[in-house]
Amino acid sequence: MSNTAVKEVKLKKAKKSSKAKMYNRGAWMYALPAFIPLVLLSVVPLSQAVWTAFTDSVAGFNVKVSFIGFENFRRLAGDTLFWQSFRIGIIWAFSVTFLALFLGFGLALLLNQKLRFLGLMRVLSLVPWAMPPVIVAIMWNLLLRPQSGPIEGLFTFLHIPGAKTDWLGDFNTAFPTVILIGAWVGMPVITVSILAALQGIPTEMVEAAVIDGANAWQRFRYITVPAVRAITSALVALNIIWNFSSFGLVFVLTAGGPGGKTFVPALFAYNEAFKYGNFGYAASMGVVMALAIVGMLAIYLKASKREDTQR
């Protein structure tokens, strides 16, 4: 191709793109119908929530609300019950996330192989995701009942001690049991995401590694792990956020009991607001939780970044 021809093509291309660009000039207007409600009912309430945290707002109509500065936070700082629940929330968020990650990663590895029952497993792996939290609670309640539950039956049959345990009602077992169920619920998203990353690994790469004499562990360590690293850290971050502020499952399973053993902070704030009507105080708890999440995320992101640069 001669030089002039190249130039001509380039010119044509430039012309085309400039004309083509024109058409989506007004595209921002398309965003309006979605952004108006989003702003009105998400940006405004959020700012309002933060503001409420600095007031003495309580439930009920026509109650005078006044600004009280950091009073709620001062009171919160000395609220040992809240901090106890805060600790439970952190343990809950991390245990559920890492247990779900462990189980989901294992399942994804299995699903990525050529095995029998693969179809069945693939469908089952999504079941917890399809279940509403209320149904999950009902299901596990049926399973774990100390009287008629099959777990009790199995334990009795195998002569394992503790068959008569009331798993969700016992002081020692309630929290671990709820964590296990939380992980059961959290597994599918993790499994599916990691499986997608695993399926993105080129088969030639694995074959080449086999030819070069890499054993299973080495293949896992130097091919699989790097392939899922990015998605895994994103999943961990997201799950910690979700779990820390979620309480639907705990609410229906144990309602915070027994003896406050499963009293996650979101549930604490919910009770404060809708049981006792202290909107302002409850909002300050929400703010503290949001700050905690941002803090945890910052630490986590920093740590995973450092790990990346060291590599």
């Binding site: 058409y23 989506n24 595209a27 921002w28 207007m29 398309y30 965003a31 119908p33 979605a34 952004f35 989003l38 009912l41 405004v44 309430p45 959020l46 309002q48 294992g106 299995l110 095995l115 029952f117 069945l120 693939r122 089952l124 999504l126 079941v127 917890p128 399809a130 279940m131 509403p132 939290p133 209320v134 149904i135 609670a137 009902i138 299901m139 309640n141 049926l142 399973l143 008629s148 099959p150 199995l154 599916v192 995401s193 997608a196 074959e207 998605i231 994103a234 979700w242 820390f244 609410f251 979101a266 704030a269 919910y270 607001a273 409850a282 929400g286 703010v287 939780m289 949001a290 999440i293």
Partner: protein
Amino acid sequence: MSTASKKVTTNLSATPIEKKKRKYYLIPTYMAVVFYILFLGFPFIWMLSTSFKSPYELLQLKHSIIPDGLYWQNYTDIIEKRGLINSAKNSLVIALLTAGLTTLFTVPAAYAIARLRKIFSGIATGWILISQVFPVSLVIIPLFMAVRRLGLLDSIWGLVLVYLVASLPFSLWMLKGYVTSIPVDLEEAGAMDGASSFQILRRIVFPLLVPGIVATALFTFLNSWNEFFFALVLIQNPDNETLPLTLARFMGSEGQVLLGPLAAGAFLATIPSLVIFGVMQRKLASGLLAGAVKG
């Protein structure tokens, strides 16, 4: 060259020793498979089995998976006596309205975010992520007050409004991924041929986006069908209850005694989810990732 590739193939087809090794490998692997199948599937099977057991059988405390007979009365009982039909109707109306409105709002917006200049889409994506960080318990208080001010407390419409807002960010996120996967060249070609911006959206982008829209709408439908917490806070009148609320109330009050009807109701409430997930299993997964990876 040809000898080299031959060597590779012989190396790859496992030698007898390696095959033996593989078999040996399979024992723990299949133990894991059995574990996962039981862990994931058994709770559901048990619920299904309980839903067919008669009160008499449940009292006998024998732990068999297969019920003595099919005791359909659990189903008729929960449907006829517990107002399940009414709450199912509420749930259906709310979920359909939410899915429809969300789609209507997010399709153009997702297009705009995906195709507009980097700064704008960066802000939008940033906000979507930020909105995920805030605990629901923080947002619920002002939302409750806002819905009350609008006079929509304890009504289906209030719930639809809240669900709409709650599902916008994620729906945008998912759809944006689908839009990004449509080549811009197609739209540019349309523009070259003199199509207007709206025509491009309507004639070129929309048809290609249909599978993504269906996936997103179904996902939104499911989320509102399953939602419990907002409904708990915003709905008081039993006539306006959604399915999860009715079941939760039933579990709390009488469910301790009436396990059969409880299991039956729970199973019925899961059917839409199971159908949607069964049909869409691949689509949902890839849709979720579309937003995450291509964003």
